[in-house]
Subunit: 753 residues, 2 copies
């Protein structure tokens, strides 16, 4: 076939223009890229330039007939598209041009177009009816480097721990029987303790390394090993040991901390009660001080006042029991007391009843139980008395006079556990994404012809949209949790603010993980339903993470109250006093009216700009804060009791809590990326951030539209950008999931290859 239509200078531009116009995503800034390249292309005559520039007019795009003609020109050239070329489209275009014109010289300007438009073979390889030599994975990024970038603290220790997990004892296996599963987990726990991993967060004097950050990283890896092991580890070293470390004094540390770290003393954390759930301040167990015998009498008053769902309850020798401390007939509020549960022969002590909670949806390797106390006496020294002491004369003193404040200070020391829960949930999501992406890179389904290979699952737009934004979000949330843990470990930080931040992050990240694992299960079809492929267990094990260490619905309301009181409220406080006080005085935040030019701004440079994302998320946060404050004030002015006023805006508070947390995660992520060295990984990180942020904004698009923050056209453009970014990241998806840093020896799913 002859090309009679186009000059030699124009010919190599044809595949570019075809790719550009066959889709509808060309924005003003993209047109600019092409225009500049043409302007600078001195090999073109002015006539040729004019012809090419004429095809760039968005108001008068090339006709369908022209496009069809281009398509045939391309197809009939019979050139093969080789995706592994450095500039595959430029190389293709060059070879195509050579087919019609033997004397054509390579055109360097086309490379700059290809580079600047960010177009990749998977955007156009299906548009040409030509042979395609596919490149399965991109070589631009490696998972190893990504892992290093995102785990830049204590990386060596993390690597050492990953290697430690290669021992056969940690190999994941299907185990249906809870007794057997608990036995395995106990052995694994002991092995970890013996090697010193359990004590990481404890002071060096007690065999630890004084690093709660390392502890949290280790916890995350354990989720890759087995959900039950991670939770058991958290209960023994984080909750039980943590209560001794944070609520006890040197006496308790000397007696118990080292043995706890070595798992020679197994303990449980007995806070929650059947009848009171999330309302810890309302627990009914009492610890009554008897001055004559210098003892505390622990007692469960009613049948439903038992401790419930206590992990490690069947293996423990001791419990850290939360109870109302009664001194001289007066309730001093909730305190923790160490109560021995069993003797050396593992017989339950007198006055104590322990029952197995039975089978659960997941985590059946964890021995959850119920505990009742019937007038059980322990020495007064067992009171974990850092924040409240009983003196030799039988009087009670505390450095924190306000009982409410004391209570929340004690609970505040446990915030680290909440970060770990979120990290654990996120690890579950990462593992599920790893398995389903690896599967989608091998599994083929359907095509237009039975003669050629079926398409890879990963190349279906719907499959990309269901998995790739979630991979991006995983990196953003990972970074947010790393930052939260760093802040929490920093003794100078504003604890009240961190509690609020962690409450919100825990809620949105555990919900994200539950939804992600579900999506992964479905994305793997029936294969995802088989236990051997791990997703099923990850799903069941992490499902409860939305409930424990603070029910998400409760936590989001706490976060909202924190925001409303400018982080001055006692976290968990029911009285709303500090919120109300602030509401009364606080000026309404003046939000600038959104300029129509802004709410209509559509170009790529703007939509991918972190400034836009942060502005949008911050706008939502501030607006929801103001409207919530106004509504509450309005009710109170009308005489509605304050508790009821808060209840009336409960669903609003949940949205506010979410908005706060999402804005925070994105802000922290971009702060982190800004600190990275320039180079290709930084670009990739910004792409991941943009995909996550636009997905989040997209989820609340109806709200933004209602507010006039987004125009209808901009909202549509965001939806298209989410799809487009997903396809742009498609070539890197293998490196991205490898960047989660999941050790190969912990991946057992047959479908992950």
């Amino acid at each position: 076939m002859e090309n009679e239509t186009y000059s030699n200078g124009i010919l190599p531009y044809i595949p570019f223009f075809y790719v550009i116009w066959s889709d509808d995503l060309l924005s003003t800034s993209e047109i600019q890229v092409v225009q500049t390249a043409i302007d600078e292309d001195h090999s073109l005559s002015q006539v040729e330039k004019n012809e090419l520039l004429g095809w760039l007019d968005r108001d008068r795009p090339p006709s369908d007939a022209t496009l069809k003609n281009w398509q045939q020109l391309i197809t009939k050239s019979n050139v093969t598209l080789i995706e592994s070329e450095t500039f595959p489209l430029e190389a293709f275009a060059r070879k195509m041009a050579s087919h019609y014109c033997t004397s054509c010289a390579p055109n360097e300007h086309l490379k700059s177009i290809e580079l600047n438009l960010g177009i990749q073979p998977n955007h156009y390889n299906h548009l040409f009816n030509v042979e395609v030599i596919q490149q399965k994975f991109s070589n631009s990024y490696t998972g190893k480097h990504l892992d290093g970038h995102f785990n830049n603290k204590h990386f060596d220790q993390l690597q050492a721990f990953r290697e430690f997990l290669e021992q056969p004892i940690f190999k994941w296996e299907i185990e249906r029987d809870k007794e057997q599963a608990r036995e395995t987990v106990l052995q694994q726990l002991t092995a970890l303790a013996k090697a010193g991993w359990g004590a990481l967060a404890y002071p060096k004097a007690y065999g630890g390394r004084d690093s709660i950050e390392s502890y949290a990283s280790v916890f995350e890896q354990l989720l890759f090993t087995d959900g039950s092991l991670a939770v058991k580890f958290g209960v023994q070293f984080g909750l039980f040991g943590g209560s001794i470390q944070n609520l006890g004094t040197k006496r308790h540390h000397d007696l118990y901390l080292e043995a706890t770290g070595k798992a020679e003393l197994l303990g449980c954390f007995a806070m929650t009660e059947t009848g009171h759930g999330s309302n810890v301040r309302g627990i009914k167990t009492t610890a009554t001080y008897v001055h004559e015998s210098k003892t505390l009498v622990i007692h469960t008053p009613g049948k439903n006042d038992n401790k419930e769902y206590i992990g490690n309850a069947l293996h423990s020798k001791m419990a850290s029991v939360f109870a109302q401390l009664i001194v001289d007939g007066k309730n001093m509020g909730v305190h923790a007391v160490l109560v021995p549960l069993r003797n050396a022969q593992h017989e339950v002590l007198k006055g104590i009843t322990i029952e197995d909670n039975g089978y659960k949806l997941g985590l059946n390797g964890v021995d959850n139980g119920k505990i009742w106390f019937n007038q059980v006496s322990v020495p007064v020294e067992n009171l974990l008395d850092k924040y409240g002491q009983i003196n030799a004369d039988g009087s009670y003193t505390s450095s924190i006079k306000n009982a409410n404040k004391r209570f929340f200070t004690m609970l505040g020391t446990l915030v680290g556990g909440r970060i770990c829960v979120a990290k654990g949930a996120l690890a579950g999501a990462k593992m599920a994404l790893y398995v389903s992406v690896k599967h989608a890179l091998q599994r083929r389904q359907f095509n237009d012809s039975i003669k050629i290979q079926e398409d890879l699952l990963m190349d279906y737009p719907s499959h990309q949209l269901r998995l790739i934004p979630r991979v991006a979000s995983s990196f953003v949330y990972h970074t947010a949790l790393q930052k939260a843990m760093g802040d929490y470990a920093d003794s100078d930080a504003d604890k009240r603010r961190i509690e609020t931040q962690v409450a919100g992050l825990k809620a949105i990240i555990t919900w994200f993980s539950t939804a992600t694992i579900q999506e992964c299960r479905e994305a793997c079809g029936g294969k995802g339903y088989l236990l051997e492929n791990r997703i099923a267990d990850l799903k069941n094990d992490t499902d409860i993470f939305t409930t424990f260490e603070g029910d998400n619905t409760v936590l989001l309301q706490l976060a909202a109250k924190g925001v409303l009181s400018n982080f001055k409220s006692e976290l968990n406080a029911g009285g709303f006093l500090s919120v109300l006080k602030l509401l009364r005085t606080r000026m309404t935040d003046k939000l600038a009216t959104i300029n129509p030019a802004y709410s209509n701004k559509l170009d790529k440079a703007h939509l991918y700009n972190p400034k836009f994302h942060l502005h949008a998320l911050d706008y939502r946060l501030r607006r929801l804060t103001d409207t919530a404050a106004m509504r509450i004030r309005g009710y109170i002015k009308k005489g509605v009791p304050s508790y009821q006023a808060f209840l009336k805006v409960q669903t609003h508070l949940l949205e506010l809590g979410k908005a706060y947390s999402e804005a925070l995660a994105v802000k922290w992520y971009y702060d982190f990326v800004a600190q990275q060295k320039e180079g290709s990984y930084k670009d990739l990180m910004y792409q991941l951030g943009a995909l996550h942020a636009l997905s989040i904004i997209r989820k609340d698009a109806s709200w933004y539209l209602e507010q006039g923050y987004l125009s209808g056209t901009k909202s549509k453009a965001i939806r298209q950008r989410v799809e487009r970014l997903s396809t742009e990241l498609r070539p890197h998806i293998n490196s991205l999931v490898e960047g989660f840093g999941i050790p190969g020896h912990l991946v057992h799913a047959p479908i992950a290859g």
Copy 2:
């Protein structure tokens, strides 16, 4: 205290005005109700009327000071609010007025306000600082009547079946071991078969009752019993038996149907293959006809071409095997052949290999397995030859000449199974909602004071919003599936259209169920995580329903193709020919521009009107149809290959498939309600419909806003109405979940009380 401010005529109106203005939900039509009552109240003087009417001006609402004054007047009257009164607010207002004025006469007009505004004690009982005597359940509706209304076909048989399930053998118990679980399920299956329940859909001549509708109702009840039992039942009687009934001829019926119904012959349905998943047309198993021996040779060519996930594989004596039928070297397309698997001693026959699929996320009472065939010969008579026959001379004939059409006709006979899957998933959602609502009606959490009772979970707005719309949706989807099954059973119906409808409904309803059960798990907190409370098992058992009998993502694309081709396309067809043909000729549907007065219409009467709901859902469907058609046409005009053009709009097609199915379900629901007798249940049904429809519209609010179909204000009003309707239905929630008709003897969850 004296009331010095208000006249005796005005006094009883005060609580009404307080309730009205303390919230922000008063719409124009509601103001009208109050205005009419005042106009007609001849006990009021003109001065009093003017004062009251002055308080109805939305532009000049009563001041905060006035409202606070009203609140105090109410509180200081010390009157108790008794929720069980017929007109509780009127009674309260009357008593309050009497407190300040001994001679006040009852005012009948207040009753009409209370009735017409639809205000209920739970809207205002928290606004007054008075003693409240709560009414736990409303007496307006009973679950029994609801059940009867919604299961109006074959109700006696349904009741008989529910009673049958009271036998101890059907009692649900925790069973972790798959061998034991399979044994139990097999025994239950046999008991059902012996009593004739398995054969319901078969002709009377073979022990059945010729009623696929009864069969489907029975299937739903089995899900309440146990997920594995339901699926095993479906495989044995619906899939295996169904293939004999629908694809076989009298010879096969005579030989096998009665034994199948009695479970004397156990069989499996061997369609899906490991390597080909949803792509049934691409299966690789062959059935090659050998004329010399008049046999068919069944063969699995490659390692991954085995039958996969075949239910009943380990218990079966025979399989209905789907294979490419090769006659005289020519592939006649996919046909089903009966292949014996085991002898009387249950030994696997020569050439056949069967492997257990192992443990799954759920349904471990079902024996799923993989099957390979190595040159297995069966008599040609075993070909299920209703749609294609091999004649005595060895030639092949079929009444359906087109191989594609033949294939889809065969698959079409299995659409009943898809309806059952959706019914089963929905039954899981109903059971989970039942358990979590019953729990929320007993469980108390938090309050503003430790002195008074904590609030019921069910009284939290966030809890109402998470459960009540889902209860409403369950009734709507139930009705849609009843209608689909009725149409399917009707031999005169347009089969192609029904297939499209069922494909879409199966997808949206199974997704709804998965999300609902998840919400219920979380709404029950840690209690929901215990196996004993059933939600965990329902979650795991029904999870795969989004994948099997057609992956939801695939089904929605089929539905979309059905819509685009005006239900003329071969369902499942990959060639797109009929769609393309229609796209070429079809006129663009002229959608009227939305009048701003309409997109801004906010009053209650409009927002609750089925006409608005149907209009909105239909608008979305038509708009998505047009834009999808335009986009595909656009790509094709530019020379993009047709398969790729469809792929490029894949996410659009998924939205279209959903929009079609949601619109259909709401339409069928309102058609059903319109046929009901006038009376209170009809009103309730409309309320349920409005809550469901507004929730669905709300979910896609961003799209409606982008299109300008909804104004920002209207979109907000819809969000508020969803919350408001949830509180309006709160008093009836106990009756509503009892209306699901779950037999008491099948409810074992301790938290359901």
